[in-house]
Amino acid sequence: SAVISQKPSRDICQRGTSLTIQCQVDSQVTMMFWYRQQPGQSLTLIATANQGSEATYESGFVIDKFPISRPNLTFSTLTVSNMSPEDSSIYLCSVEDAGGYEQYFGPGTRLTVT
């Protein structure tokens, strides 16, 4: 199974600022995914990040608000831009294993916007 780390693990940010979340995987993976989990809620897919191409965003999420980088096969970043309290959530990255069956999740980044 893939081992995934995220930085930071948590942060408290002021309204109007931006935060970049890093996701590092211990093996090369084709597809990486970014999810948001609002307090007490389920997970919602933000975007799919493939190396060498633009991220694909789900309905309700836009690149200006959540720019994503995928510079190589083991790393991705998600930026939450111009934050508001509504952005307070846990942000998780996930990867698909080499066999294409399992999806593993990172430990998450808990973001609080004041």
Binding site: F33, L92, E102, Q103, G108
Partner: protein
């Protein structure tokens, strides 16, 4: 649009009892996941079900999949307090995106 519905959303049960969590989904899919999430933690993969009639068991948990009925179940046998957590089912959209149900918050009373 794929919808994934879990029920119940909340479940409080006594230790030693059996119960089943249901997961219905609205469109064809060949892959269904069950995850566990403890408070403040990330998701732990429990089962991946790949075909109609698939049944997997791990300890007191057993998951099954009926693709024709678009239904998966997670059965808990003789529940113990350590199984208290939120359980999510998730369905693959055939383009490697997975859509999550709302989760079932399970509380097992000692």
């Amino acid at each position: 649009e794929l919808k994934v519905e879990q029920n119940p959303l909340f479940l409080s049960m006594q230790e030693g009892k059996n119960y089943t969590i249901y997961c219905n989904y609205s469109t064809t899919s060949d892959r269904l996941y069950w995850y566990r999430q403890d408070p403040g933690k990330s998701l732990e993969s429990l089962f991946v079900l790949l075909s109609n009639g698939a049944v997997k068991q791990e300890g007191r948990l057993m998951a099954s999949l009926d693709t024709k009925a678009r239904l998966s179940t997670l059965h808990i046998t003789a529940a113990v307090h350590d199984l208290s957590a939120t359980y999510f089912c998730a369905v693959d959209l055939r383009d490697d995106k997975i859509i999550f149900g709302k989760g079932t918050r399970l509380h097992i009373l000692p």
